[in-house]
């Protein structure tokens, strides 16, 4: 079982993270990358986290996913700090013998992460103003399905 969790300010290389799963005869590796996109005319996102609880919550998410989806490996990297348009925010990868489990694990991890992990996003606009993003009811609903 490979497990890699990181909450970091520095960029990461999703490709390099994905390559760690190769050559391991795992069968199936699913991944998800979240990238800052140009919604609401933002120029950047500022991401805050709880330095202790965020890591703990990600550990718990990994444990749940490993058990439920028979994972052979799991990676979760979440960045904090100020991220410009096009920068990667999050990378999640899950390896399993079969594609169904690997994909279901990624979906479940992302859904639960939206409600269970103490991270907050703030939109930064060109005029210097900013606005905290509010939690969406659709994210709460999707998370509670797991």
């Amino acid at each position: 079982m490979m497990r890699h969790i990181a909450v970091q300010i520095t960029p990461f290389d999703a490709g390099q993270e994905l390559r760690k799963f190769e050559g391991n005869r795992l069968g199936a590796v699913a991944s998800f990358s979240g990238i800052v996109r140009s919604e609401n005319d933002i120029i950047a996102l500022s991401i805050e986290h709880h330095p202790i609880m965020t890591y703990m919550a990600l550990e718990k998410l990994c444990t749940l996913a490993e058990q439920r989806y028979k994972l052979l490996g799991v990676t979760i990297i979440h960045r904090y700090g100020t991220l410009k348009l096009g920068e990667p925010i999050i990378f999640v990868a899950a390896a399993s013998a079969h594609r169904k489990e690997a994909m279901a694990a990624i979906i479940a991890i992302m859904d639960r992460l939206k409600t269970d992990v103490p991270l907050w996003k703030k939109e930064i606009f060109a005029d210097g103003t900013s606005r905290w993003i509010e939690q969406k009811q659709s994210d709460v609903d999707r998370s509670s399905a797991w």
């Binding site: 979240g34 986290h49 979440h78 103490p118 907050w120 905290w132 939690q135």
Partner: protein, 83 residues
Amino acid sequence: MKVTYFAKTRELIGRDSDSFDLPADIRSINDVIEYLSAMDEPYKNALANPEALRFALDNEMAKGDASIQNISELAIFPPVTGG
């Protein structure tokens, strides 16, 4: 007890954390919120709608009616929006 604030709550209060010697009759998280709200305007604003806040006691998520006995740190923050 140490009280920490995150995200919008931190910005509204204007501080990362406080350290309080709480009166003996402050027993739950809800009691702490009520106590802080009576302090000054920033606290009142930030904590005006406790239903829209989330709490953690010593890094474990907790409901408003949870006891703060033997707890060294309360964290107060809005619903999370990561991912």
